[in-house]
């Protein structure tokens, strides 16, 4: 057991922690004349926290991620609940159908969403056909709303699966017991099903938030100028400005937020009655 543990931790350290640390350590260096000076400093962090445009992008992105999580919590819960109510044979099929997009290339999914949201896209066709709009709406693409919609759709499986799993774990006899004691369907849902499956929702919201707040591709491809997010900011430091130390410092801040969210979700998603 001990030997296995050592091997496991050794691998984790060698392939995850060491590369990560050797990258993050750049956040404490700085750049002079396009070359990195390997002397420790907190200048990058001072720069980020005192610069208005960095701060604005940071909070705009966190807010957008929060919104995506909230939308997905509602959509994802409804989807998971719908699947859960199907007969068992259907359930497995639907869960697999939901998980298939997870195996597909991320960039293809985003291009697909671009096709849906575009001026001649599926969404506009539907809106036109239903008579909701008279001419195609161009406001569906290349803004922050497009990023919200795209991320909501692409990240939905991360919300649905944990909620579905926690619904699946509710024993049938517990639902029978609620009915047996006089609870109607609505009361059973509100008093038993919802509280027992909410930990799954919290885990899903955590996934969605962390993935949305750090995402770079979706804002880059559907976000336009308005959709300039923190992920794009980090990318620009590495890919455009060649300021690795600033990029690493920006990444460290995002990582702190992500770790904090994971910690909170662990506390909320593991209520007292489960321990």
């Amino acid at each position: 057991m001990l030997a296995e543990d050592c091997v496991l931790w050794g691998f984790a350290a060698l392939f995850i922690l060491v590369p990560l640390a050797s990258f993050l350590v750049y956040g404490f260096f700085f750049v002079v004349d396009n070359s990195v000076v390997y002397r420790p400093t907190l200048a990058n962090f001072v720069e980020i926290l005192s610069n208005d445009s960095y701060r604005t992008t940071f909070f705009k992105t966190l807010r957008m991620a929060l919104e995506v999580s909230a939308i997905n919590l509602v959509l994802g819960y409804a989807t998971a609940y719908f699947i859960w109510l199907r007969p068992p044979a259907w359930r497995n099929f639907l869960v697999i159908a939901l998980a298939v997009p997870l195996l597909m290339s991320y960039i293809i999914k985003i291009y697909a969403m671009r096709g849906v949201l575009g001026t001649n896209g599926l969404l506009n066709s539907v809106l036109l056909a239903l008579g909701i709009v008279d001419e195609p709406v161009s406001a569906l693409l290349f803004n922050l709303t497009a990023v919200r919609i795209t991320l909501s759709v692409v990240l939905l499986p991360f919300m649905v699966l944990p909620i579905y799993i926690s619904l699946e774990r509710i024993p049938n006899s517990v639902l029978n017991a609620a009915a047996d004691l006089g609870a109607g369907e609505l009361q059973t849902f509100a008093r038993v099903v919802l509280p027992l499956s909410l930990p799954g929702g919290i885990v899903g919201a955590m996934f969605t938030f962390v993935l949305a707040s750090g995402d770079f591709l979706a804002p880059e491809l559907v976000g336009g100028i308005e959709g300039f997010t923190y992920g794009r900011l980090i990318f620009s430091q590495f890919g455009l400005a060649f300021n690795w130390p600033l990029g690493a410092a920006l990444s460290i801040l995002l990582m702190i937020v992500a770790l904090a969210v994971i910690y909170i979700a662990r506390r909320l998603g593991n209520p007292r009655w489960q321990r």
């Binding site: 024993p171 517990v174 029978n176 009915a179 004691l181 009361q187 008093r191 209520p271």
Partner: protein, 372 residues
């Protein structure tokens, strides 16, 4: 209640609390329950006893409403409830796995039935306090189910089922998950709660001794049908079939046997190992019969019982207060088991020796052989 207040009408007082008529449950082509009738009397402790696959749990689930019957009717207190939704049925269930709500404390679990009915706080707290008092969990109200022992979870489930003061509680093998010592303790506890509350208990188990200790009446089920209903004494001393006889421990079955004489409430039967007298009248349709004798009915030689048979000792096992002797008849290859009080003075018979074994006509029963 109304029946008792109006007094005079004896017929009304005999009306069963739960009346099942022609109830059947089919899964595809498989008959889980063949159409059957069953009456549960007000205030009794009735146990449905049977091996797994006998349909006992399906029957209970049909009564509770978790399983839609394929045919037949269920009446509760004179009202047809066969199509009534689960949450409207006027009785409650204790589940095999307790089915406590894991996210609620003991108090919240117990008060659930009152809360869904919108009972006021004062009344609710009084009722919960009294229910927790009955099951002895006053101190543990703030615990979550995961913090309770099996027995405590069991008590919580019982309090939860009792909180709405139902006239009938259904119990689905509630003791199956407990260890032997705790189970015995809970048997006594359940029985005393039932007696004191006067609530009718319909209890399902596969454990014959559990059914015998707790019940006023036992309904033995086998392959989806009722084999026999009666008091524990009835089933123990007067089983009607080979199945019930061996279920209740009358493991010595002598068959075939043929009625040769019946008078004065004593029936004489002829078997391959001799002719015996059996107390009671011969069963109707007297073919395909078997003679069932309890291991403890056998005695060695003395006392001159009416029925005697010579048997060879195969083995002797001493199990403390009792000694079990395995015996074989010399001609017919019939094996017998005899359970006697261990005697510190006498040495046990040696294997191979021949004993004259006797049993009383009142301690054996004529039963029907296997169906079909």
């Amino acid at each position: 209640m109304a029946n008792h207040e109006t007094g005079g009408l004896a017929a009304n007082q005999d009306l069963p609390l739960l009346r099942i008529r022609g109830l059947g449950v089919r899964f595809g082509t498989f008959n889980a329950i063949n159409p059957l009738d069953l009456d549960v009397r007000d205030g009794e402790f009735l146990t449905i006893l049977g091996p797994s696959g006998s349909g006992k749990t399906t029957l209970l689930r049909a009564i509770a409403g978790f399983q839609a019957p394929s045919e037949g009717g269920i009446e509760f207190d004179g009202r047809d409830i066969a199509d009534m939704p689960i949450n409207r049925r006027p009785f409650n269930t204790v589940f095999q796995d307790y089915a406590l709500f894991p996210h609620m404390t003991v108090r919240e679990n117990v008060s659930f039935g009152l809360r869904v009915r919108g009972t006021g706080r004062k009344r609710l707290n009084d009722r919960v306090d009294s229910a927790l008092g009955i099951v002895g969990l006053e101190e543990l109200g703030a615990r979550y189910p995961s913090q309770l022992s099996g027995g405590q979870q069991q008590r919580t489930a019982l309090a939860r089922a009792m909180i709405c003061e139902p006239r009938l509680i259904l119990l689905d093998e509630p003791l199956a998950a407990l260890d032997a010592a705790l189970r015995r303790q809970m048997q006594n506890f359940l029985k005393s709660v039932q007696r004191q509350s006067g609530i009718t208990f319909l209890f399902v188990t596969h454990d014959q001794s559990e059914a015998t200790t707790m019940s006023d009446r036992i309904c033995v089920m086998r392959s989806g049908s009722i084999e026999q209903i009666g008091t524990p004494r009835d089933l123990y001393y007067r089983p009607k079939s080979k199945f019930v006889a061996s279920f209740f421990g009358a493991s010595n079955i002598i068959e075939p046997c043929e009625v040769i004489d019946a008078r004065n409430d004593v029936t004489s039967v002829r078997t391959a190992v001799g002719t015996f007298a059996v107390a009671g009248p011969a069963p109707e349709g007297g073919s395909g019969l078997a003679l069932a004798v309890r291991p403890e009915a056998f005695g060695i030689g003395n006392g001159k019982p009416v029925n005697q048979v010579e048997l060879t000792v195969v083995s002797v096992s001493f199990i403390g207060s009792e000694t079990i002797t395995e015996l074989r008849h010399r001609d017919a290859s019939l094996e017998f088991k005899m359970k006697t009080r261990s005697d510190p003075a006498a040495s046990p018979p040696a294997p191979g020796s021949v004993l004259t074994v006797g049993f009383d006509p009142a301690e054996c029963a004529l039963v029907s052989g296997d169906r079909g």
